[in-house]
């Protein structure tokens, strides 16, 4: 997808600049933006490493395992079609917790394994099962507790209070996730 999107952004930009006579601005824009990406990454390096450091302690201490246990009753309600003790549930739990803690790199592999296990329970192999639909909708509703990268970006651009968006972020994430679950359950009831 990005293969075409990226090229389209550049082509359209340059084409419009040619019409509006802003080609010199475009050159400056491209070069200064590339330079700025590095400045942003240096701030990111500090904030992100702090976060992954803290999360590593949590991982080693078994925080994720403890959270998985507490999540189980909720997941059982969310995915009634997945049999008790099936491996799909472990991968779903790992994906949800990784997303919740903002560990995107750990969330994707767990999510893909969850899909594989859900597919093994699926009767029609080309058609998404109820559990798959719910998992995907729930997953894409954003589950992240703290968007640490947004805080890092705000820091880079000299926000007076970079973390002031955490509270509103949590509330709105709850709203989007509640909407996701409500929609999924509604569709299950209709079908």
């Amino acid at each position: 997808m990005l293969n075409y999107l990226w090229g389209a952004m550049i082509f359209i930009g340059i084409l419009i600049a040619a019409f509006t006579g802003r080609l010199a601005d475009v050159t400056n824009g491209a070069v200064s933006s590339a330079k700025e990406a590095v400045a942003v990454s240096i701030t990111m390096l500090g904030v992100m490493s702090m976060w992954t450091g803290i999360m590593r302690i949590g991982e080693r201490a078994g925080v994720m395992a403890a959270m998985t246990k507490r999540l189980r009753p909720f997941l059982k309600w969310l995915f009634p079609d997945v049999p008790e003790g099936h491996r799909a549930m472990d991968h779903i739990a790992a994906n949800v917790i990784a997303n919740f803690l903002g560990l995107g790199w750990a969330a994707t592999p767990a999510g893909l394994m969850a899909m594989e296990e859900l597919q093994s329970l699926n009767k029609h192999k080309d058609r998404a099962s109820r559990a798959m639909c719910m998992f995907m909708i729930f997953n894409m509703s954003s589950l992240q507790l703290v968007s640490i990268n947004i805080i890092a970006y705000r820091t880079q651009y000299n926000s007076a209070n970079p973390s002031e968006i955490i509270g509103p972020g949590i509330i709105t994430t709850l709203v989007s996730t509640a909407a996701a679950i409500a929609f999924g359950k509604l569709m299950e009831a209709i079908e």
């Binding site: 997808m1 990005l2 990226w6 952004m9 550049i10 359209i12 930009g13 600049a17 802003r22 824009g29 491209a30 933006s33 990454s41 990111m44 390096l45 992100m48 490493s49 992954t52 450091g53 803290i54 590593r56 302690i57 991982e59 201490a61 078994g62 925080v63 790199w105 893909l112 899909m115 029609h124 192999k125 080309d126 058609r127 639909c133 995907m136 909708i137 894409m140 509703s141 954003s142 703290v146 968007s147 990268n149 947004i150 970006y153 651009y157 926000s159 209070n161 970079p162 973390s163 002031e164 968006i165 955490i166 509270g167 509103p168 972020g169 949590i170 509330i171 994430t173 909407a179 996701a180």
Partner: protein, 176 residues
């Protein structure tokens, strides 16, 4: 509204204290693990950096050419009627398509409007409660060769639009 500020101030310290305390109670060498984990942060940022350069360059071109303004202005009459900041229109669309491209636009908004402007705050909150729908869906479903995705896309869009609407309402009530 004070509760919201308190929540924002408390969450990070609470998470850190909780995890540290948990680590000590399990007799973990917390400092060593922190250092090990911080190394992972380096790897992640280094992996993101080339993407960020590529996307910020593309967004830089869109910005300098005036394309972003053209899109914002085209939809401005509709957006402003519902109190939606027009500068946030391109990012709201891009957010559903690509995480890194929307990050590029986010940084552009921080640069042009400032992170503490209404638009800057709104896009910060909006980015926190939304997810890239199209990319995630194609990745996950393609990995198991599912072609009939039924109501997944509709559900994901409902969730993300609910998040955007909630961000707008909450930001308006917090910061006008």
């Amino acid at each position: 509204m004070k509760i919201m500020a308190a929540l924002s101030d408390m969450i990070l310290p609470l998470v850190i204290v909780y995890i540290l305390a948990y680590g000590y109670s399990r007799k973990i060498n917390v400092y060593e693990e922190f250092i090990e984990g911080a190394k992972d942060g380096f790897k992640i940022v280094l992996e993101i950096l080339p993407t960020l350069i590529g996307l910020m360059m593309a967004v830089g071109i869109l910005r300098a050419s005036g394309t972003l303004d053209i899109i914002s202005n085209a939809i401005a009459p509709v957006a402003e009627r519902i109190g939606f900041p027009k500068e946030a229109v391109p990012i709201s669309i891009m957010r559903l398509v690509s995480s890194s491209a929307s990050t590029g636009i986010l940084l552009d908004i921080f640069k042009t409007c400032g992170p503490d402007s209404f638009t800057g705050r709104f896009v910060s909150v909006m980015m926190s409660c939304t997810e890239t729908v199209f990319y995630t869906m194609s990745l996950y479903f393609m990995s198991v060769k599912i072609t009939k995705t039924r109501y997944t896309l509709a559900g994901a869009l409902v969730a993300n639009i609910a998040g955007i609407a909630a961000s707008l309402i909450l930001c308006r009530s917090l910061w006008g």
